[in-house]
Amino acid sequence: MKFYEIAKEPINIQSVIDKVVQREAGAITTFIGTVRELTDGKKTLFLVYEAYEAMAVKKLAQIGAEIEQRWQGARVAITHRVGRLDIMDVAVVIAVSTPHRADAYEANRYAIERIKEIVPIWKKEHWENGEEWVGNQLETVAYPSGKPEAGDINE
């Protein structure tokens, strides 16, 4: 079973959930990232996601390993879609199962935050009057050492 995937076709949410079902788990949380029409009042027409696929799968697996180490008994599956996505399409599905519910929420939240830090996937927004890679104009992030700054990245 592939727990970490980059998908070119629409994601089947149930099939991601099925990967984390376990007899010991009482709680499964999912996060489903969808394409929102409005961001800061600007109307998105569609998005294009691009990935460095081989590395993205590795980094998703790393996030899963981090979670399974930090939250006892957790099981994780993540699928991220690439290509053109329209409004309300599903870009990412994260499923986490744990014995107890508090962990399932926390671990799931951890996964999406880590995806936004270390997984090589990029989003290009297309509006009526233009297009832009998200993140390249804000200049709010710099990597003085050349790599992510979080302390817990395994290399």
Partner: protein, 77 residues
């Protein structure tokens, strides 16, 4: 030789998905500087680097055959 991959706005700026160069013996910082000059790339301090699909520091030395990827701030999710 070394394959050097570009993504997102860097790919747009370079106009190629990848280029092939001989970078062995150079540090990542040196390769970054070379390419920034050649393709007129700005804000390279916002770009991360991976060698063979793992993040590395600017002072990492590139070996023959390494695959290098320049990784703009990610925006998945």
């Amino acid at each position: 030789m070394n394959k050097v991959l570009f993504f997102a706005h860097l790919r747009d700026a370079v106009g190629e998905e990848y280029v092939t160069v001989d970078a062995s013996g150079k540090t990542v910082a040196e390769l970054k500087a070379d390419l920034a000059a050649k393709y007129d790339l700005a804000r390279m301090e916002t770009i991360m680097t991976a060698i063979n699909e793992e993040f590395v520091s600017n002072d990492e030395v590139i070996a023959e055959g390494d695959e290098i990827a320049f990784i703009p701030p990610v925006s998945g999710g």
